[in-house]
Amino acid sequence: MPESLAHGLAVALSPPNLLFAVVGVVLGTVVGVLPGIGPPTTVALLLPLTYGVDVTAAVIMLAGIFYGAMYGGSTTSILVNLPGEAASVVTTFDGYPMAQQGRAGGALAIAAIGSFVAGTLGVIGLTLLSSPLSEFALRFGPPEYFGLTVLGLTLVAYLAAGSMLRGLLMAALGLWLGMIGLDPVEGTRRFTFGILELSDGLDFVPVTMGLFGIGEILYNLRRAEEMPTVLRAAIDWSRSLREVIQVRWAILRGSLVGFFVGILPGGGAIISSLLAYALEKRLARDPSRFGHGAPEGVAAPESANNAAATTSMIPMMLLGVPGNATTALILAAFLIHGVRPGPFLLRDHPGVFWGVAASMYIGNVLLLVLNLPLVGVFIRLLRVPYRYLAVLIALLAMIGAYSANNSVFDIWLTLLFGGLGYTLRVLRFDVGPLIIAFVLGPMVELSLRQSLIMSRGDISVLFARPVALAFLLAAVALLLGQGVSSGMRYFAGPRREYSP
């Protein structure tokens, strides 16, 4: 296997493949920075261009776009509270407050370095553990998914930066939004108001572009004072590097979470970043720092989503089953070139597999080299007066929403959620729990109903298997713990004012 890796490195370093890697990661960074336009759209658009190219080169480039976007996606999340990539939503929770406190450079550095460590760990896992990992992915059935997603939902209680009541209300709203569309089991339409476009449910992109992008801009229009522009002209590297070392455990834990959750089809970057964030908050000595600029709050999700992106290539390559939209398209690229990923990829096309794996090592190095200097560039971009940024962000949000499905309806949705985002901000609600519930809710429902249908109504199926049971126990423990500490807070002292 070390020989295979060496062979793979040779393949990856050959000039044409190296060039494609560079193109891929650069493009991925750009796409990641641009809000709303994500890897799936870009990979889909570039797919035809790869026809005449060798399959390894094509996949190297497309994969580069994929994990490159995870690097770039944190940039707008941190600088302007607009997730550049679906998975970067969680980075806004602490990344944007850090930027508002003048620590944007530190946040960006943490994101870049955390992503590098996570990506590297992910590639190591890919090369050493891909077969056992794909078996692990195979065994994950509805009861396990249920346990995992329930655990994720219970962590919502930790994520509200302010009062728990408001957090739960947002989660409830998010759950409802996730139910719009067709019922997963019977196919009946729920809350679609007769609109055909809603029968597939709300797409993540218009919702986030609206709530975060348009909502934030509309809210800022109401402020009396001019928005603060650049907070620091140059990045204080020594301080930032110290901060990175400070959060090294968050990076490691985030990478691990992303590593395992990323393998699960349907798991992926968003859930990993949510889980990693919540885990850090739970483990922190002073959880109240989270939501207000805790560097761990940036390190954890950024590491998680990059590790997840890397390991999500495994089920696609070794099982032929893609876990997310982008790997589905990379799979298509394989198919067009006559290579069928799946159980025989390693046997029939080892050069392709190892070449791609090795190129991901190289890609991560390239991205680190690319992104660290870019931190300074982006900080300087913040010098642009907010009023120009605002209109640009509004535009990018709308274009991003349109480009997902070539649908004007999606732009209308974005505006609608923009209005909602504005209203929620005015009422001092935090949107974080809403997004989490929106993503996890449908998975909880589907996996629960699948499990009960499989067992024909026998609830014990949810606890029978060890992994599923473990997740549920963890969720219960967390709920109890939170309940106890909230209860103590409630009864212990006089009513206090929560400051958001």
Binding site: P48, P142, P322, Q450
Partner: protein, 324 residues
């Protein structure tokens, strides 16, 4: 007096002739078609088999048609969004639908989507993919007959993974149920991939899937194929018997047909049909389709129309039986 009447008649006749000429005038300008790119609208998401086939076709279209074929993805609503989009566009031959049985045969009969068969006229069918019934490697059934017998004797005991109501893993099993009296327990999954994994890992007992994705798992010994729901054997899975051969009349053809709005002028339809016939004969085209793991089953417009009508009626009958 007579000359006046003659003259009036003459004038009238001239006017009528001119009017007729104007009315049929547009057919003259049809000779210059196409003069700009033609749009092919796909009712499914990017990366799927329709998308891949469309891109292959687009690669060859320009030689045959003279203008590029632009692929436009408009997923959603089970294919209704794309279908409605094409109908609403001008029927001038520049907007076509790459349709399938899901959006265009089944969906209009289970939901009010604003169209049925008559809004579309087929240009040509590129191919179809029939689903294969597969079970886990450890499953006790080695033949279709055993599977059906078991499902009849133990109604609701077999956990059957499906990928969407009325979809390719659901509808053919519904047909099988209605024709054999078998009954399975349908478990919903999020797509072909998760369903395949579920059966391979034992989380589900059986499902329908497509050859391209299934074959590696079959070769690796993780799943076993019991039959293919096609009218006749398919070249990509030559050794798999059809349901019909095994005595159960179940077919489900996920066809890929270029459909034009019915208002498209006949001369333009002819141009399109000729171009299509040319494309499918190109050896490089055929090689690319084979590379995708898909069969080459071409049908021209009129033949497909007959096929489609029969399919429509079959589906109507099945639905009537189920709903009883």
């Amino acid at each position: 007096m007579r000359t006046m009447r003659h003259r009036l008649t003459g004038i009238l006749l001239t006017i009528i002739a001119l009017a007729l000429g104007v009315a049929t005038g547009p057919t003259w300008s049809q000779e210059a078609y196409p003069t700009k790119p033609v749009e092919l609208v796909i009712p499914f998401a990017a990366g799927g088999s329709h998308d891949l086939h469309a891109r292959v076709i687009a690669g060859f279209a320009q030689q045959s048609l003279g203008q590029p074929l632009v692929v436009l993805l408009k997923p959603g609503g089970g294919g209704a969004i794309a279908s409605q989009f094409v109908i609403k566009a001008r029927g001038d031959g520049y907007t076509l639908l790459f349709g399938s049985n899901g959006p265009n045969t089944i969906l209009p009969q289970v939901q009010d989507v604003g169209y049925k068969m008559r809004e579309f006229t087929p240009v040509c069918m590129i191919n179809y993919s029939p689903p294969l019934l597969f079970v886990g490697a450890n499953a006790p059934w080695r033949t279709l007959a055993e599977f059906i017998e078991f499902s009849k004797a133990n109604p609701g005991k077999v956990n059957f993974a499906h990928t969407g109501i009325w979809g390719a893993a659901h509808f053919p099993m519904l047909i099988a149920e209605s024709k054999t009296g078998a009954k399975v327990n349908f478990v919903p999954f999020d797509g072909g991939g998760p369903a395949l994994l579920a059966v391979a890992s034992g989380n589900a007992d059986a499902s329908f899937g497509f050859a391209a994705q299934l074959l590696p798992f079959v070769q690796a010994g993780r799943v076993r194929v019991l039959g293919v729901a096609a009218p006749e054997r398919i070249e990509t899975v030559r050794d798999t018997p059809t349901f019909r051969e095994l005595g159960v009349d179940v077919t489900f053809t996920l066809w890929r047909t270029i459909l034009a709005p019915s208002t498209t002028p006949p001369l333009r339809m002819r141009t399109l049909r000729q171009a299509c016939a040319k494309i499918v004969q190109d050896p490089s085209f055929r090689a690319l389709i084979r590379q995708l793991g898909e069969p080459l089953i071409y049908m021209d417009g009129p033949d497909f129309l007959t096929f489609w009508r029969n399919e429509w009626d079959d589906v109507a009958r099945t639905l009537a039986t189920i709903r009883r």
